[in-house]
Structures are given as structure tokens and as C-alpha cells.
């Protein structure tokens, strides 16, 4: 919403500088985009160079066919000679003149110059040259009663500022100059002038029949018939206001409807009355497939939810959004039906969304316009139509459903103070609410500040409860006056859960191991699980399915790094996967996944690390899955690891993915001390010849089972296959450590333990101890 400050000042006085006005509005009312000077620069006496002039003589420039050479009375003893390119005037016209020395809004500085051999002392102005409008085809023609030499700034708003505000959805009342003026008056505690508009006398014609078939969609419809309308360009002040408010001037009738919409925030529409079949209007929902060509020339196909304005037999406007082309006001129009109505917001929002058609009108309606503003708008528009277009008001009618009564709510000033956290005097609260238009029942001096408050109609949607009034008090009294305090705590519970702490430790451990953390999309193009959840309307082809594994994202991330030439690539991600579930919402599980250069054993080292972190001994079993190398893939209770299948990503990458809840399931709440210091460990190396297929893990498992916890560690340190051994055999060398927390182990103890292991391995796996 753009509001010229001079227009705002018509309704409210304020003395603060403009930037202070902007600051206050921004904090208390609506976002202020900026406040910008417009028009001619008001500095260094620049405005003095702009005056009115009367053309004394105008004739073709002797050396140029397209130029006129004019003698213009600018209020000085001698007329000024001015060369002009426009032809929409002749001798006698009253015009706007910029004299040498003037600086135009585009920065051009006027001088006394020679144009095609003739002196030109200034410029006869078109509206765009002084930023009063966008018209450039002709110069501005001013009222003839102005005497030459009158300062132009007294006649036209040459210099102004425009306030640009962005209003939140709950404040459609601020999408109007008068509404903003009311807010300014409340914020600065100054006088608000009464709303503009005085009803002209009404003729005695039969009113235009209005038939509302859907009073839910259209609770009020004021129709006013005008005759004798003379369609013309609007007067300069009106053109300029619209221009500076960001709207294009079209013709007087249309401009008046727009101007009044900007004044009160209640949009209006003007129909060419003679084109309404049966000279009647109605409001109803569209029939499915019904068509209407709107003002923008687009043929709209309508649905049963769309609200229409109709005449005797067809749609003539898309209610509240855009008029129809057939009944639009044109140069030929002489009788007008002015519509000042009220429409229900949600339906308008839906239609405007469905048709992707947003207009100044729909933008207001969809936020909910006060139906009481329609009457003010009708009155003001009528006054302007009569005074500007010479029209006569023939008839008026106002069809309305029972309008909702203004909301009333109890209000306790003490409650407001308590919630804001600042003691605000009850009478001050009452006064500021009254400035905003809230009405109080009960005596001024109600000692406890408990009242019943009636909400002004223009705030009826937004303010219905005590808490809404608390907001009004807080923002108008001043959010900057609210102190900085902290909640009074009576109970404390600020700590991470064990799972959250472990998740951080997983991240930290991998970072310590040289992995960097990746973030990849929760949505993938596809998933290994055919039941994975799909978006019915995908974000894009690449982002359509809620993933059940982190691996695809990690492969992409690794490939990206390889492709840009990065080295030492090791990435992990801790994120959720979404497993389809029979019970409605998916099972969201935290996974950690990783991808790393170097193949299976590099990945395994990370998996070992993660298990070590939570003191869980993983058991690795051969597995297969399509994305992994068939011979280099394993699973553990909490997940899987392997070498990436070369068809997925070439180059020998290790990858793993672990379900964190499973990994954390057996984590003891606390780790207990074990004595590994007092008594020394006995280390021995044992090599066994076994079948080539036997996994080393099985051998170690058997050794642990045979010796019990006194076998503190058994580690493979060599695997040999070759000529020294019979075919189909391999040798696995283990380093074992025996340690007791009860005493030093003797050689004999060690020998016994070792024999237990040898015997068990022989029995279970046919293992032979090598010499």
C-alpha cells in the first residue's frame, strides 16, 4: 500500500518528522517498506522555478514542423518565449511552466537554450515530467482562473512523500488512506477528521433491482444509478494521487472507484448501466463451466464456488475480483451503476487462487472488509461522480443481510498489564483503546479497570477477545517500553536426553575419524523400498519419495566431490529415514550413514568405531544388496556396510548405514570400571590352519566362548594362503591377551587357557594349531 503523505494529512495532523512516523508505524502497526520523496525536489529554492503560465501566442516553430513556439505570460513584465513539443493547447491555455534554473525529477536542469535557432526560456510541462502522472502525449492544462505566475506548488502537489507499507493479513483496515490516518491519530494522539464524502441529492427514479441469491457470499450490496455521466480524463489532483498510490489513471469514473477504494479500503465497481440486461443486477454462484470475459480480456471458465455479479441473464463480473468486459465503462458510457458491496473473504480467496487472478480488489476482500465501509465508499464516490463527471444520482438502494453485530468482550486492564509484564495505568489503556475506536461500557473511573468493550466494525474480524485487546494495548502503548525480564523458574529440566547426547557423540566420533558431515535431501527420486512413501505431487522428479535409506544422497554427495576434483572424500550424515508403517504415519528413524574412499575395510573401521563408542561388540555377517559389491558386503545388528557396487559409484568406495536406535538399544546407562591396570596381561600369538571359507570372526567368537572373559582381547594380525599350506586351507594368526582382575596369571594359567582355545577351535572348526 502506497500512500502520498499529502493525502494522509487531509485526514490527520501530525507533527513528527516523516522518519519518526515511519518508525512508529513500523513498530506498532505495519511494516514500512520505505518513505520516499516523489515529484520535484523541494530543496535549494527549486520549487520557485515552477509557476503557472498563460499562453499568449502559439505558432509553429519556424525551423521545426513538430514544435510550437509560444509566448507565455509567467507573471513577469515580459512574456517568456518557450519552445514546446505538444499540440494539445493553443493561445489562451493555462499551463504549468518550469523556468530556467529548475531541476526536474529526472535530474535534468533547465537552462535558457536555443532550440532550432529560437530561444526557449523554460518548459511547458507534461505530467510525467514532474512525476505527477505517466501521461506524456500532451501538456497539463490547468484551470483558467489561475493568474499567471502563481507558484505551481500552490496548484499541484509538486513535491510529496509516499509512505509504502506492507500490511499483515489481520489489518485490511490499514489498506486504506483513511484507515492509516486513523492509526496515525491513535498512535500520536492527534485529531482524526471525519471521513470524506457528502451524499448528493438523490433523484426519484425507480432503484435498480438487486437480487442477492447468496447473502453468505455477499452480505451487502449498495447499488447507485447515475445518469448524465461525462466520461473524461480525471482532474490532475486525482490523476496524481492515483499515480503516486501506484495505480494508473484511466477515466474519471474508473478513477473515482479506485480512489475511493484507496480511501476506505472497500473496493467499488462501476458498470455501464445501459449494458445491463434488464437494467438489473444480482449476486449468485457460478454454474459449472459458465464463462465470463473479464476486463483483462481473458475468458474465464468458472466453477460453482465462484461468486458472480449478474444482470438479467448473464455474468457481468467476477464478484470482488474483476469486472466483465461487456459491461465495462467506456467513453460511450453515460449511465452508470455504482456497486459498493461487501463480500465474504474465504470464497474470494479461493476463486482468486484458483484463477491465479489477484487484483487490488481481491487483495482487500480476501482479508475481510468491514461491510460498514461500503456506505462511506458509496457516499464519497457519489459526491465525486457528481462533482467530477457531472453525473446525477438517480437512485440508490442498499440490500443487506443482517450484518454481524460488533463484537463485545470483557476487558481487564490489570490482565493486560500482567500479560505484557509492564504496569500500564488502566485509564491510559482505556484512552488508547478509545483512540482506536473501541467503545467502553461502564464508568470511566471503574476502579479495577474492568470493562466491557465494543469493537469498532473495521476491526471486528481481528479483535474479538480480551487477549486481542491486550495486543492493542501493548503495541500502541509501545513495545519498546516493555522491559526485559526472564521467566521465574520453579522447575528445571534443561538437559539433553541420552539419545541426543549419543547422537552428538556419533557425529563427533566420525568427525574425529576424518569424516565431514553432509546434508542430503529427505526426498529422493526413488527408493530401494517399493513401499516408500511418495508425494502425490512431487517437488520435482528428483524429489518425489521419502527415503528409507541415506545411501542415495551420500552416493550423490561423494560423486559430486569426486567430479569437482576433491580428494580424501569421507562424508557422513545423521538424519531421519521414513519407513512406511501400517499405523498411519511413517516410522521416522535416525540413521547414520557414511561414504568413504578406500573400500570395505575403511568403512568397517568406521562401523567398528561406532560400536566401540557405545561399548557394543558387533557381529559381522556376509550379506548382499544390490548397491554393494557382492563379495564385500556385511550386515550388523544395527545396519550394513560394504563396498559400493562399481555400477553405482566406481572407484572402490566404502559405505555404511546404521540405525541409531538399534545401535543405542544396549548402551548401558553407565559404564562400570574394570581393573585392567593392577595385574599384567599375558600376550600370545596363535596361528591356526583352517578351511579357506571360514570367517575369522567365527574363529574369534569360538575362542572367546572357550576362554571366557579372561580372554580380554583376540585380534587377527595375519591371514596367509599359499604354497606352504594344503589346498583349500588358510592360516589365521591371532594375538590373544589374557588378563584377570583377580591376580597375575602364571605361565601355567596361560597354558591352560590356550589349550582350551586350541581344543575348542579344533573341535568346532577343525582348526589346527601351527607350530
Amino acid at each position: 500500500m502506497k500512500v502520498p503523505i499529502s493525502w494522509l494529512r487531509e485526514y490527520v495532523d501530525f507533527e513528527v518528522p516523516l522518519d519518526a512516523l515511519a518508525d512508529r508505524l513500523a513498530v506498532a502497526a505495519a511494516e514500512v517498506e520505505r518513505i520516499v520523496p516523489v515529484g520535484v525536489a523541494d530543496e535549494g529554492g527549486n520549487l520557485e522555478h515552477f509557476v503557472t503560465g498563460r499562453v499568449l501566442e502559439a505558432s509553429k516553430h519556424p525551423n521545426a514542423d513538430r514544435l510550437q513556439l509560444c509566448q507565455v505570460d509567467v507573471g513577469e513584465p515580459d512574456p517568456a518565449q518557450i519552445v514546446c513539443g505538444a499540440w494539445n493547447f493553443s493561445a489562451g491555455a493555462t499551463v504549468a511552466v518550469a523556468r530556467p534554473g529548475a531541476t526536474l525529477p529526472d535530474g535534468m536542469q533547465l537552462k535558457r537554450v536555443k532550440l532550432r535557432g529560437e530561444i526557449s526560456e523554460g518548459m511547458i510541462l507534461a505530467e510525467d515530467e514532474v512525476a505527477l502522472g505517466s501521461e506524456h502525449d500532451g501538456i497539463m492544462l490547468l484551470a483558467d482562473d489561475l493568474s499567471p505566475g502563481t507558484p505551481l506548488v500552490d496548484v499541484l502537489p509538486l513535491a510529496d512523500h509516499v509512505l509504502e507499507v506492507e500490511v499483515t493479513g489481520n489489518r485490511p483496515d490499514l489498506l486504506s488512506t483513511y484507515g492509516l490516518a486513523r492509526e496515525v491519530a491513535a498512535l500520536f494522539d492527534t485529531e482524526l477528521r471525519p471521513p470524506p464524502g457528502i451524499d448528493p441529492p438523490v433523484g426519484s427514479s425507480e432503484p435498480v433491482p438487486i437480487e442477492i441469491a447468496d447473502s453468505g457470499g455477499c452480505p451487502r450490496y449498495i447499488g447507485r444509478a447515475f445518469s448524465g455521466v461525462e466520461i473524461a480524463e480525471s482532474p490532475q489532483w486525482l490523476r496524481t494521487r492515483l499515480h503516486r498510490a501506484g495505480m494508473r489513471a484511466i477515466s474519471n469514473v474508473v478513477d473515482i472507484t479506485n480512489y475511493v477504494m484507496l480511501t476506505f479500503g472497500s473496493p467499488l465497481h462501476a458498470f455501464d448501466l445501459d449494458r445491463l440486461a434488464g437494467r438489473r443486477v444480482g449476486v449468485r454462484r457460478a454454474e459449472s463451466g459458465e464463462r465470463l470475459r473479464t476486463l483483462d480480456g481473458v475468458e474465464r471458465v468458472l466453477s460453482v464456488d465462484d461468486l458472480l455479479i449478474v444482470d438479467g441473464d448473464r455474468a457481468i463480473a467476477l464478484a470482488a475480483i474483476m469486472g466483465g468486459e461487456e459491461t465495462e465503462v467506456t467513453e460511450a458510457t453515460s449511465n452508470v451503476l455504482l456497486e459498493a458491496a461487501n463480500f465474504e473473504p474465504v470464497g474470494i480467496l479461493k476463486t482468486s487462487e484458483r484463477l491465479a487472478l489477484r487484483t487490488e480488489g481481491s487483495n482487500r476482500w480476501e482479508k475481510g472488509v468491514d461491510p460498514h465501509q461500503a456506505a462511506l465508499a458509496a457516499t464519497y464516490a457519489s459526491e465525486l461522480l457528481v462533482s467530477i463527471s457531472g453525473a446525477v444520482l438517480d437512485s440508490t438502494s442498499d440490500v443487506q443481510a443482517a450484518l454481524d453485530p460488533a463484537p463485545r468482550t470483557p476487558f481487564r486492564a490489570a490482565r493486560a498489564s500482567a500479560l505484557i509484564g509492564l504496569e500500564i495505568d488502566a485509564q491510559d489503556q482505556r484512552a488508547l483503546l478509545q483512540r482506536l475506536g473501541f467503545e467502553f461500557e461502564g464508568p470511566d473511573g471503574a476502579p479495577d479497570g474492568e470493562w466491557t468493550v465494543t469493537v469498532p466494525t473495521w476491526r471486528a474480524r481481528d479483535v474479538t477477545r480480551e487477549i486481542d485487546l491486550v495486543e492493542e494495548v501493548a503495541r500502541v502503548h509501545g513495545l519498546d517500553r516493555v522491559p526485559f525480564t526472564l521467566p521465574q523458574r520453579r522447575e528445571l529440566f534443561g538437559r539433553l536426553t541420552q539419545e541426543q547426547r549419543l547422537r552428538r557423540r556419533v557425529e563427533d566420533a566420525l568427525v574425529g575419524a576424518g569424516y565431514s558431515e553432509a546434508y542430503t535431501w529427505s526426498l529422493a527420486s526413488d527408493d530401494v523400498d517399493p513401499a516408500a512413501l511418495r508425494l502425490p505431487v512431487p517437488l520435482s522428479a528428483e524429489h518425489a519419495v521419502l527415503r528409507t535409506t541415506l545411501s542415495a544422497g551420500l552416493v550423490d554427495a561423494a560423486a559430486h566431490n569426486r567430479d569437482v576434483g576433491n580428494h580424501g572424500i569421507a562424508l557422513f550424515e545423521v538424519a531421519r529415514v521414513y519407513l512406511p508403517s501400517d499405523e498411519g504415519l511413517p516410522d521416522e528413524r535416525w540413521h547414520v550413514g557414511g561414504i568413504v574412499e578406500g573400500g570395505y575395510f575403511v568403512a568397517k573401521s568406521a562401523v567398528d568405531l561406532l560400536h566401540d563408542l557405545v561399548r557394543v561388540e558387533p557381529r559381522f555377517e556376509r550379506t548382499s544388496q544390490p548397491t554393494l559389491h557382492p563379495g564385500k558386503a556385511a550386515r550388523v545388528a544395527a545396519g550394513w556396510l560394504g563396498e559400493v557396487h562399481p555400477s553405482v559409484l566406481d572407484g572402490g568406495w566404502g559405505m555404511f548405514e546404521i540405525d541409531l536406535a538399534t545401535l543405542f538399544a544396549d548402551v548401558p546407562e553407565r559404564t562400570l570400571y574394570e581393573d585392567v591396570i593392577t595385574y599384567p596381561a599375558v600376550h600370545q600369538d596363535l596361528a591356526f590352519v583352517v578351511d579357506r571359507q571360514l570367517p575369522a570372526g567365527d574363529l574369534i567368537e569360538a575362542a572367546l566362548a572357550a576362554a571366557g572373559p579372561i580372554l580380554r582381547e583376540a585380534r587377527v594380525f595375519d591371514v596367509y594362503e599359499g604354497d606352504q599350506l594344503p589346498g583349500g586351507k588358510k592360516s589365521i594368526a591371532l594375538n590373544v591377551s589374557f588378563q584377570s582382575d583377580a591376580g597375575t596369571l602364571s605361565d601355567e594359567d596361560a597354558r591352560v587357557l590356550r589349550e582350551k582355545i586350541v581344543a575348542r577351535l579344533a573341535e568346532q572348526h577343525g582348526a589346527e594349531l601351527r607350530a
Binding site: 487462487e353 509492564l422 495486543e471 503495541r475 513495545l479 522491559p483 576424518g514 517437488l539 504415519l585
Partner: protein, 331 residues
């Protein structure tokens, strides 16, 4: 035998030895089995001479030890000086990992709120429309509910558009006091560009207790902003509108780059918008059966990516999802 002369000669020889070998030769020469002094000691008969000889031998032995230490020290020094390296050569390469910038910010926020005594709740990402919209007082026609704005799995299931559904779950599960934040991924149907990615991260917080005020929200957010952007930061509240808070405000933090003087980051206003906040609308208490006359609360939300852009100068959010090590290693 002139003990004194012999000792003097030996002392000179010790002093003249410049290597361990030479010193050993000197030792053998004067104190070895067949040397004059030990011989004499073996043969000595009178006590007086014996003491003199013994003392001389002890002094020489000490002198040899001292000289040996000295030579060893010299030798060590020489060797060490030969081992001198170019100290500017690189350290031994060791793979180095980094947490993602958003994780770093996430943890920082978690720690700030843990310090304020808040719980961290990991809400779910796939939500019902009830928890994502209805319970947050968003009417059926609210634009955020449109499939053009949000990602639906079906009519009643949506990828959470903010992390606040966790607040409703928490309120349902227990009675006040509640002090919680929830952080994580949220989803909107945006077209990716420099400042939008359809997946991004929020922190949203909720405090419900007896006597919670707008002033408490102001104090809390100022603490958070100072923790994030420096101790000199100020904050201000601007009135705003959200369906789930009343009064609603937007907090601004004073620009940490220009300190209010005006720069591009704060669009020459001196203030930077930081999210949304307000007192919890009593309407939200209805469905969880809290008595708004007894308890009140505040809620707030901030974007983690916004912090990344503002504080770290990240120009394009899409880079956060490319996982390029060159970028990851910066933070």
C-alpha cells in the same frame, strides 16, 4: 711418586679429551687396572698416603664423569642441531572432518537453550494436518495449507512446515511448566533459489508457566540474540500477525555489521528481522485443556539458514546441500 703432578697431568688429559673414546683412553691410562695410581693404591701401606691417593683417584674419577657428561651433552647438542628441520613445512597429514554449518548452529542454539533450562524435543517430520495446522489455529483456508505451499502425502498428512507441531504434542503429553525448543528440518513447496530451499531448518521454542509475560519473551530473545550475534546487540519488537500467537511480534536484532549505522545486510535500517514470536494464543490452550487464567506462555521461531547467511555471509543456501568438501571444510 709425585701424586700432585700426576693428578695435574691427568686432569689436563681429561680436559683435553674431545670424544668419549679419547676420554676412555685417558681413563684407562690413569685409572685403569695397570695405571700408576691404582697400582700405587694397591701397594700403599701408610694411611696418610692412602688417603691422598684415594682422594686423587676420586677427584679424577669425578672429573672423568663430569667430562663424559659434558661430552655427551655436546654430542647431543650437535646431533640435535643437525636434526633441525624447516619448521614451516606442513604437519603430518591426518584426515580432518567437520560438522556441517547447520549442525554447528543447531548445537549452538541447543546449548543456548539448555543453558536457559529448556528441553530439546525432536519432533517428527511427517505430521497430520491437525498438528501442523489446525491445532496451531490456522483456519482451513489459510494459504499455508494450500498444496501449492506445502508438501502433502495425502489429505491429512503433510511434511511439517514448521517445527511447532512438537509443541502441541508436548502440551498434550504433560502439564506446565513447559520450556522446550525443537529444531530440525521443515518443508515448503518453494522453488530453489539463493535464499530458498524446500527443506530448511528452524528452531522453535515454547515456554508455558504461571505468569509468563511479553517482557519475558523480550528478555529471553535478547539473551539468545546476544549469544548468537554478540553482547552488544539490542533487540526490538515489531507488531505482527500469526494465527498461533497473540500478541504477535517480529523480533529485530540490531545489525551486528554496522551497529545500526546502516548497511546492505540490514537494508540500511540498522535492524535485522529474525523470525516470529508472541504470547501463545489462548486458543491453543483449549485443545490441550490448559487454563489460560492460570498459565500463559510465549513461543518463537527462527531460521537456522538465516543465521548462516547473516552471520557467516553464506550467499546461496543451495550450497548447504551440495556437500562440497571445500565448503564443508570452511566451517
Amino acid at each position: 711418586m709425585d701424586v700432585q703432578a700426576l693428578e695435574e697431568e691427568a686432569q689436563n688429559a681429561i680436559g683435553a679429551a674431545v670424544s668419549a673414546d679419547q676420554l676412555e683412553t685417558v681413563r684407562v691410562q690413569y685409572l685403569g687396572r695397570n695405571a700408576v695410581l691404582p697400582q700405587a693404591l694397591r701397594e700403599v701401606r701408610d694411611k696418610e698416603t692412602g688417603r691422598t691417593l684415594n682422594e686423587a683417584r676420586r677427584r679424577l674419577s669425578e672429573a672423568i664423569d663430569a667430562r663424559r657428561d659434558e661430552l655427551e651433552r655436546d654430542e647431543l647438542e650437535r646431533r640435535l642441531s643437525e636434526e633441525s628441520v624447516d619448521v614451516t613445512l606442513p604437519g603430518t597429514e591426518k584426515a580432518r572432518g567437520h560438522l556441517h554449518l547447520i549442525t554447528q548452529i543447531r548445537r549452538e542454539l541447543e546449548d543456548i537453550f539448555l543453558g536457559l533450562g529448556y528441553e530439546v524435543i525432536d519432533g517428527r517430520e511427517v505430521e497430520t494436518t491437525y498438528y501442523n495446522f489446525t491445532a496451531l489455529n490456522m483456519p482451513t483456508w489459510h494459504p499455508a495449507r494450500s498444496p501449492l505451499a506445502s508438501l502433502y502425502l495425502d489429505d491429512e498428512t503433510v511434511l511439517r512446515t514448521e517445527t511447532s507441531p512438537a509443541q502441541i504434542h508436548t502440551m498434550e503429553q504433560r502439564d506446565p511448566p513447559i520450556y522446550m525448543v525443537s529444531l530440525g528440518r521443515v518443508y515448503r513447496r518453494d522453488t530453489p533459489d539463493a535464499t530458498h530451499v524446500p527443506i530448511f531448518h528452524q528452531v522453535e521454542g515454547l515456554a508455558i508457566d504461571e505468569g509468563i509475560t511479553l517482557a519475558d519473551l523480550k528478555g529471553t530473545l535478547r539473551h539468545v540474540m546476544r549469544a548468537l550475534f554478540g553482547e552488544d546487540r539490542e533487540i526490538r519488537f515489531r507488531t505482527h500477525y500469526f494465527p498461533f500467537t497473540e500478541p504477535s511480534i517480529e523480533p529485530d536484532v540490531s545489525c551486528f555489521l554496522c551497529d545500526g549505522a546502516g548497511c546492505n545486510v540490514c537494508r540500511h535500517s540498522g535492524w535485522i528481522e529474525m523470525g516470529g514470536a508472541g504470547l501463545v494464543d489462548p486458543k491453543l490452550f483449549e485443545s490441550v485443556d490448559y487454563d489460560p487464567e492460570r498459565v500463559s506462555g510465549f513461543a518463537f521461531g527462527l531460521g537456522l539458514e538465516r543465521i548462516a547467511m547473516l552471520r557467516h555471509g553464506l550467499p546461496d543456501l543451495r550450497q548447504l546441500w551440495e556437500n562440497d568438501l571445500r565448503l564443508l571444510h570452511q566451517f
